[in-house]
C-alpha cells in the first residue's frame, strides 16, 4: 500500500515522458495525482501496514516505509497539493509541458518518500531526490535570473544535506548493529558532546531547508524566479521537509540537545519572523510578498516546535497542514493574476473586485486565513503556538506577536491594492475567469473554514505523534 505512494507518481512520470500532446499529458498527470489523493485519504483514516524489504544488506539499511499521524498529515497535504496545482495551472502554457509535468510528479514521489521513510539512509536518498527535479524545473522554466538563483538554492540545500549525511554516518557508527532504522538511531550510544555534534549536523540541513534566519537568503529569490506551480510545491510542501525533519528525527533523537538549544533557535526564529514580516510590507511584487509571508509563518512554526511545549507542538502539527492549504490558495491566485494580467506588480493591479468578483472574494478568504482570523484554520494552529511561546517566555511571545499585526498590514494592503480601487488597465484586460482554478480555490477555501471551525479530526490524527514526542 505505502509503496504505491511512490510507484504511482514515478510510473506516471515515466509514461509522461512519451506523451507529446499537452492536453493528454495534463490529463494523465491530473488523473495520477487524483489517484494518489484518493489513496492518501484512505490511508489517513485507516490503519496502514509498514512496508519493509531488504535494500542494502552490506550497510544494513532497509527499505522501510512507515506512517504515523505526522506522516499522514503531510502525505495528505502533498496529495492535495499536486492535483490542486495541476488543475489550477492546466491552462498554463509551457514548452515541453509533458516533461514539466513529469518532473513535478517526480518531485511528488521524492516528497512522499521523505515523509514515509523510516530508515535514515533512505530518508537522505529521498531528501536529495526531491531536490533534483526541482532544480531542473526552476532552471528550465523559471524567470529571467533563474539559472544563477536556482543554482544558489541547489548548492545551499545540497551542502546542508551533506552535513546531515555526516550526521547519519556518525550515528550509524554508534548504533548497536550499524543499523539505519530510526529506532536504532534513538538508542544510539553517544556521549553528551557527541549528541550535540550530531544534533548540529542534522540541524544545519533542516535549518537551511525551512529556512531559518540567517540561512534564508536563497528562498525569496527562488520563489520569485520559479514557475508558479513549482513555487507552490516549494512553499506548500517542500519547506515542510525541514519542519518534518525536526519533528521526526531531531526531537526524538536528541531530546536533551534539543532542549539545550531552545533559546538560541527560538530567538533566531523570532528575529526571522519579524525581519521577513517587515520586508513583506515593502514588497510590490505579489510573489515576493507571499514568499516573505511564508518565511514568517514557517519561522513561527519552528519557534513553536523548539519551545518543546506540548501545546505549541500540537499547534505546529496542525499548522503544517493549514499553512500548506492557505499558501497554496494564495499562490494559485497569484498565478492566475500573473497569467491573466502579465504582471506581478501590485501597483499595476486594482479593481479586481469589479472585474472578477469571485476571484476577489476568494482572495479575501485566503487573506483572512493568512492573518489567522478566527474561524480560519490558521487561527487554531497559531493560537496554540503562541500559547506555547507564552509559557516559554511572555516577552518572546510578545515580540513574535508583533508579526500578527504586521501580517495584517501586508496582507490587507495586498487585498486593498489588488481587489479594490479603480479598475486598472491590466486588470481590465483580463480574459474570462479560469473556472477550473476557481473550483480548486473554492474547495481549498472550504477546507480552510471546515478545519477552522472543526479542527478535531486533525487533533485526532496527530495525537499519536504528539504523545510519542512528549514522552521524550
Amino acid at each position: 500500500m505505502l509503496i504505491s505512494f511512490l510507484l504511482i507518481p514515478i510510473l506516471t512520470a515515466i509514461v509522461l515522458l512519451f506523451i507529446k500532446k499537452d492536453t493528454l499529458a495534463s490529463q494523465t498527470a491530473i488523473a495520477a495525482s487524483l489517484a494518489t489523493l484518493a489513496l492518501a485519504v484512505f490511508a489517513t483514516f485507516n490503519q496502514v501496514d509498514t512496508f519493509d524489504i531488504a535494500w542494502l544488506p552490506n550497510l544494513n539499511s532497509r527499505f522501510t516505509l512507515e506512517v504515523d499521524g505526522l506522516a499522514k498529515i503531510l502525505i495528505l497535504l502533498t496529495a492535495i497539493s499536486l492535483p490542486a496545482i495541476l488543475i489550477a495551472s492546466a491552462k498554463n502554457e509551457y514548452k515541453q509541458k509533458n516533461i514539466f509535468l513529469s518532473l513535478l510528479l517526480f518531485t511528488q514521489a521524492g516528497l512522499m518518500g521523505v515523509f514515509l521513510a523510516a530508515d535514515a539512509l533512505l530518508f537522505y536518498f529521498f531528501w536529495e531526490l526531491a531536490l533534483i527535479p526541482v532544480y531542473f524545473l526552476c532552471s528550465i522554466w523559471g524567470g529571467e535570473k533563474r539559472i544563477a538563483i536556482t543554482f544558489k538554492f541547489f548548492i545551499y540545500t545540497f551542502l546542508g544535506s551533506l552535513f546531515m549525511l555526516i550526521g547519519i554516518l556518525f550515528l550509524n557508527a554508534h548504533t548497536a548493529e550499524h543499523s539505519f532504522s530510526i529506532q536504532a538511531f534513538i538508542h544510539a550510544n553517544l556521549t553528551g558532546g557527541q549528541k550535540i555534534t550530531a544534533f548540529a549536523l542534522f540541524f544545519i540541513a533542516f535549518a537551511i531547508k525551512m529556512p531559518i534566519f540567517p540561512l534564508h537568503t536563497w528562498q525569496p529569490d527562488a520563489y520569485e524566479q520559479s514557475p508558479t506551480p513549482v513555487t507552490m510545491v516549494l512553499s506548500a510542501v517542500m519547506v515542510k521537509m525541514g519542519l518534518y525533519g525536526i519533528l521526526r528525527w531531531l526531537l526524538p533523537l536528541f531530546p536533551v540537545a534539543f532542549a539545550a538549544h531552545t533559546n538560541v533557535v527560538v530567538f533566531l526564529s523570532v528575529v526571522g519572523i519579524l525581519y521577513a514580516s517587515f520586508i513583506a510590507i515593502r514588497q510590490d511584487d505579489i510573489k515576493r510578498l507571499i514568499a516573505y509571508s511564508s518565511i514568517a509563518h514557517i519561522g513561527l512554526m519552528n519557534a513553536a516546535i523548539f519551545t518543546g511545549k506540548g501545546i505549541a507542538i500540537q499547534g505546529a502539527l496542525i499548522q503544517l497542514f493549514s499553512h500548506g492549504i492557505n499558501v497554496l490558495g494564495l499562490w494559485i491566485i497569484a498565478d492566475i493574476l500573473e497569467q491573466q494580467t502579465g504582471t506581478r506588480s501590485m501597483q499595476q493591479m486594482g479593481g479586481l473586485a469589479k472585474k472578477q468578483p469571485t476571484l476577489a472574494i476568494l482572495l479575501v478568504g485566503f487573506a483572512l486565513a493568512n492573518i489567522a482570523m478566527p474561524l480560519t484554520n490558521a487561527f487554531v494552529g497559531e493560537f496554540l503556538m503562541f500559547n506555547g511561546l507564552f509559557i516559554l517566555n511572555p516577552w518572546i511571545a510578545a515580540f513574535a506577536g508583533i508579526s500578527i499585526v504586521l501580517a495584517a498590514i501586508y496582507t490587507l494592503n495586498m487585498v486593498q491594492k489588488v481587489a479594490y480601487g479603480e479598475i486598472s488597465e491590466k486588470i481590465n484586460a483580463m480574459p474570462a475567469p479560469n473556472k477550473a482554478a476557481q473550483a480548486v480555490l473554492i474547495i481549498l477555501l472550504i477546507i480552510v473554514f471546515v478545519t477552522g471551525v472543526y479542527p478535531q479530526p486533525l487533533f485526532t490524527l496527530t495525537a499519536d505523534t504528539l504523545q510519542q514526542l512528549l514522552a521524550k
Binding site: 542494502l56 552490506n58 536518498f125 533534483i132 531542473f136 539559472i147 541547489f154 548548492i155 551542502l159
Partner: protein, 461 residues
C-alpha cells in the same frame, strides 16, 4: 598469474597482428576477443585453475581480492575498447599497436594487484607507465601531444627514480623487499635504521602520490591529460589510476604502522591539499578537458581516504569507487571525444538536439558529483565511512564534504550548458551504437546507485 601471462601473450599477439591484418574492424574484434579470453583466464584462476603454476618465492601473492579487482579492470577495459574502437583507429592505421599497449598496461595492472614484494611493485609500475608515455604522444602531428608525452616521460621517470630510492632505503633498513606486517616497529632496531626506513617509506609515498596524481605531486596531470588524445586520457584517468591506488593501498596497509603518527599527519596533509587543489582549480577552468583533469585530481583525494586505515569499508569502498569513477569518467570523456572543441560552450543546447546524449552526460556528472541514485553517491559514502571507521576526526570528513559541495559547481556548469543555455552544439557525427553504449554505462551507474553491493558481493563467495 593467469592474467599476467595471458595479457603479455595477448600484447605480443596484438603487436604482430598489424603485419597480417590490415582491417581496423578485425583488429578491434581481435582485441575484444582477447580481452574476453583474458577475463576468462582470470576467472579460471579465481576458481583455482592455472595456466602455468610455479612458486614465485613470495614475489607475488594472488588473493581473491586482487584477482577480483583484475576482473573488474578487464571488464571496464572491455567497455572502454568497445566504446572507443573507432576513435582509437583514427590515429594511425595500426590500431593494433595501441591495443597491444593496452594489454601491456593490463599486465602491469595485474602485477600491481598481486605484488607482495617491492621489486614487483617497481616492475608493475614500469610496465604500466611506459605504454602510457607512448599513448600520450600518440597524436604524432600534434605539438601538445608531443609536449605532454615528453613532460610525462621526464616527470614519470623522475618519480620512478624516487620510488627506487625509497625501495633502496627500505631494503637498507630492513634487509628485505617483502611486504610483511610492519617491517620495523618504531621501538625495534637502532634509531638510525628507523630513520632510514621512515625516509624510504616517505619516498615511496611521494612516488605513489605522483602516480595517482595527488597534490602536491599533481603538476603533470593537467598538462598531460589535456595534451594527450582524449580517448587515451580517458584510459589514463581510469584504469591506470585505479590500479595505482590498489598498489598504494597494498603497500601502506601493511607498512603505515612503521611511520607511526607521522603517517596520519602526512596523509591528512596530502588528502586536504589534493581536495583543495583539485576542486578549487577545477572551478575556474574554461576547457572541459582541463576541468576533468582537475576533477580527476579531486576524485583522487576521495580515493585516498581508503589509505587512512584498514577496514572493510575501505576495502569494499575502493573497489566501488574505482568502478563507479572509471565508468563515469569513460562515459564523460566518451561524450567529449565527439565534441569539436573542448570548451563548455560547445555543450550549449545539447539537450535540445540530442536529449539522450545530454541525459547520459547528466548521469555521468551526477555520479562524479556524488548525487544519490547514481553510483557516485555510495562510492563517496563508503569512502567517508571508511575514514570514520579508521578513526579520523569529524573535521576531516567535514572538509571532505565541503569540497564535495564545491565539486557540484563545476560539474553542474556542464549541466547548465546542456539544458539551460540555448545554442547549437558543435559535434561530430555520433553513431547510434555509440550512444547506446554510453546509455549502457549510465544504466550501470544507476544500478550501482540503487544496489552498490553488486560490485563487491562476489568478493565473499
Amino acid at each position: 598469474m593467469n592474467a599476467i601471462i595471458v595479457s603479455t601473450l595477448l600484447g605480443v599477439i596484438m603487436m604482430f597482428c598489424s603485419w597480417g591484418i590490415k582491417s581496423q574492424k578485425t583488429q578491434h574484434t581481435i582485441a575484444l576477443v582477447g580481452l574476453f579470453v583474458l577475463i576468462l583466464s582470470n576467472l579460471a584462476q579465481l576458481n583455482g585453475w592455472y595456466v602455468i603454476d610455479f612458486d614465485t618465492k613470495g614475489m607475488l601473492a594472488f588473493t581473491r581480492y586482487g584477482l577480483y579487482i583484475n576482473t573488474l579492470f578487464f571488464l571496464i577495459t572491455f567497455i572502454y575498447i568497445w566504446l572507443n574502437g573507432e576513435e582509437i583507429a583514427k590515429f594511425d592505421n595500426q590500431a593494433a599497436d595501441f591495443y597491444a599497449l593496452f594489454f601491456f598496461i593490463l599486465c602491469g595492472a595485474s602485477i600491481l594487484t598481486s605484488f607482495d614484494n617491492l621489486l614487483m611493485l617497481f616492475i608493475g609500475i614500469e610496465i604500466l607507465s611506459i605504454p602510457l608515455y607512448i599513448l600520450t604522444g600518440a597524436d604524432k602531428k600534434n605539438l601538445f601531444s608531443n609536449e605532454a608525452a615528453l613532460k610525462y616521460f621526464l616527470m614519470g621517470s623522475f618519480s620512478t627514480g624516487i620510488l627506487l630510492l625509497g625501495i633502496t632505503f627500505i631494503y637498507g633498513a630492513t634487509g628485505s623487499f617483502h611486504l610483511v606486517e610492519p617491517i620495523l616497529r618504531p621501538s625495534d632496531g637502532l634509531p638510525q635504521e628507523q630513520m632510514i626506513l621512515s625516509a624510504g617509506l616517505l619516498l615511496v609515498f611521494a612516488a605513489m602520490n605522483f602516480k595517482v596524481s595527488a597534490a602536491p605531486f599533481h603538476f603533470w596531470t593537467p598538462d598531460v591529460y589535456d595534451g594527450a588524445p582524449t580517448v587515451f586520457t580517458s584510459f589514463m584517468a581510469t584504469i591506470v589510476k585505479a590500479a595505482g591506488f590498489i598498489a598504494f593501498i597494498t603497500i601502506f596497509n601493511s607498512q603505515a604502522k612503521a611511520l607511526g603518527y607521522t603517517w596520519i599527519l602526512v596523509l591528512s596533509f596530502v588528502i586536504i591539499s589534493t581536495l583543495l587543489v583539485g576542486n578549487i582549480v577545477a572551478v575556474f577552468q574554461r576547457s572541459v578537458k582541463r576541468m576533468l583533469a582537475y576533477s580527476s585530481i579531486a576524485q583522487a583525494g576521495f580515493m585516498l581516504f581508503a589509505l587512512y586505515g584498514k577496514s572493510s569499508f575501505a576495502q569494499e569502498g575502493i573497489i566501488l569507487y574505482s568502478v563507479v569513477y572509471s565508468l563515469a569518467t569513460i562515459g564523460i570523456f566518451g561524450v567529449l571525444i565527439k565534441m569539436k572543441e573542448n570548451s563548455f560552450e560547445a555543450f550549449n543546447g545539447l539537450a535540445k538536439t540530442k536529449p539522450l546524449l545530454a541525459f547520459v552526460t547528466t548521469i555521468f556528472l551526477f555520479s562524479l558529483a556524488g548525487i544519490p541514485l547514481t553510483g557516485g553517491f555510495f562510492a563517496k559514502y563508503y569512502m567517508l565511512n571508511s575514514l570514520y571507521a579508521a578513526g579520523a576526526g569529524l573535521w576531516l570528513i567535514i572538509i571532505a564534504i565541503l569540497f564535495a559541495a564545491v565539486s557540484v559547481f563545476y560539474y553542474f556548469k556542464l549541466v547548465q550548458a546542456m539544458y539551460f543555455t540555448s545554442g547549437e552544439p558543435s559535434m561530430h557525427e555520433v553513431p547510434k551504437k555509440y550512444t547506446y553504449t554510453l546509455l549502457l554505462i549510465a544504466i550501470l551507474l544507476l544500478i550501482l546507485g540503487a544496489f552498490p553491493s553488486v560490485v563487491f558481493n562476489y568478493l565473499y563467495f
